[in-house]
Symmetry: C2
Subunit: 306 residues, 2 copies
């Protein structure tokens, strides 16, 4: 029986490429493994898979009775709804430790680095398994994506070193150009429905009993969304109400200016000032230097909600 | 500020030796680290530390405001009561994934092997750090203890390989004799109060909302406790009532016969038959081939309570 390897809901490129890489590594360690995703992949991931000639993984959302490995998360909220009915064999992640638990021992590789693929690179090295050229390309792109081309606060020396070594294997020499190309694809918004933009990289969190959603759009220029900012604001308000959420925040991150405009829909907007010390005006606020949801936004909100 | 490294409540030899080894490794990686324990060490651990000339770690039970790393557990019930007020930097473990969560990314090395020290051996190798002779002796003894000299159902090839390599570094050639010597120390019961025997290797679990305690005495011969079995039965009954527990079970494990006599104090003794298919008589039952609390007893009870 094959082991299913997959990342979080609303898959990003680390989740997609990480699942594919981990399934490849497991296969070479003698474990029959298949990478899948919990949902449709985003345009950036489609670009990466196409570039390196790797097939798009199938979508699968139910895993009762199956053996599984998780990538890029350890939160029940980001896992399949029937995870408890699956046998969890392992977790590879780089986030805070979530609320997934198991009845049996398992293999966890969880490191405080910028990208799951940095951890998977170390696993290939640890087990002495060669990384195929196309898989190295996928992993490299995941690192460029998660670390915003090494600019994110979550980026570590381990990520840079892993990316360098993967670039050599993949035969990629201009990482800046490759990263910018990816972010242009990611920034594509023309003709996209608002809800698809809001949910392109979106996660729900339980913050001290409050349901809080945080989405992020990483943009090469905030001007790209100037015309639709009001529509985005209306949509996160709608999303908040549909899901009985306390708040929905949308991070409009300018990767060149290295900061984030936060759009706010909240029962208590004062949590934003509590979290960041900056006063919102007109349902939004500029957060200079803030680029990482995981390392900068989530911890600050968790303190504000505590 | 030093990082405190420690294992679970009611420390066993893996918890004690693992904390000392991980603190040594961290120090060599440039992290100031101090091994401590959450309670008095058991006679087996005292024997090991004495044999290899390593000082007994201090007891420390409160960690608010401190940086910490956990060894040999990831359950809140086995952690310090104020763990949530500490900053958790890492976990090294070989059990099921427990309910510890963090607000920040951390480093987890959790493997499905027989002993935390097997994982720590791999960490030394991964980071290219040499293992000191006396630390290698401690880690070797932890593996012999946790795997019952390689006989436990939890023992893997990785444990055997790690033990072999550690034995070379420590200069130990007869692992069977070393293991038996340790279990003789562990089996020592003469003059020991009942409660101390029951709690020598004891853990509380939350099983579907029921508080369930499981203790284990690993003995070279069940005859060693023939005279005190009734007193032990009375004491687990008392322990059950004092703590409003649903059940307290005491595993009297015969490491030579490779099986366990289970003493039972329970609001509903039928869970034992549900868990093992064997009918208890007179508050006890023989479980042939059962030697591991973690791999055989806890999972079966969790299913029976589900
Ligand atoms: Mn990631
Ligand atoms: Mn252990």
């Amino acid at each position: 029986m094959a082991v299913y390897v997959f990342g979080h809901k609303n898959p990003d490129s680390d989740t997609v490429c990480g699942a594919i890489a981990l399934a490849d590594l497991q296969s070479k360690l003698g474990v029959e493994a298949v990478a899948v995703t919990q949902g449709k992949i985003n345009p950036e991931s489609a670009f990466i898979l196409d570039k390196f000639g790797v097939a798009v993984p199938e979508v699968k959302t139910s895993f009762a009775g199956e053996k599984v490995m998780l990538v890029d998360h350890s939160d029940l909220a980001q896992s399949p709804d029937d995870l408890k009915e699956a046998e969890l064999l392992g977790i590879v992640d780089h986030h805070k430790l979530g609320d997934v638990t198991t009845p049996n021992p398992l293999e966890c590789w969880i490191w405080p680095v910028g990208c799951s693929c940095t951890v998977i690179k170390a696993m290939y090295d640890f087990y002495g398994v060669e990384i195929p050229k196309n898989i190295a390309g996928l992993m490299l792109c995941a690192i460029l994506s998660d670390t915003v081309i090494f600019k994110s606060a979550t980026c570590t020396d381990k990520d840079k070193k892993a990316a360098e070594e993967l670039a050599k294997i993949a035969g990629e020499s201009d990482l800046q150009a490759l990263g910018m190309k990816m972010f242009e694809v990611k920034s594509a918004i023309k003709g996209t429905p608002m809800r698809e933009l809001v949910e392109r990289d979106y996660k729900d969190f339980d913050m001290n009993g409050n349901k809080v959603g945080i989405g992020q759009l990483e943009l090469v220029d905030l001007a790209l969304v100037a015309d639709i900012k009001e529509d985005l604001a209306k949509d996160i308000q709608a999303l908040k109400e549909e899901g009985n959420r306390h708040s929905v925040f949308l991070m409009l991150t300018d990767i060149m200016k290295e900061g984030t405009e936060l759009l706010i829909a909240s029962d208590d907007p004062s949590v934003v000032e509590k979290a960041f010390g900056a006063k919102p005006e007109g349902g939004k606020v500029w957060l200079d230097g803030v680029m990482s949801r995981k390392k900068q936004v989530v911890p600050n909100f968790e303190k504000a909600f505590a």
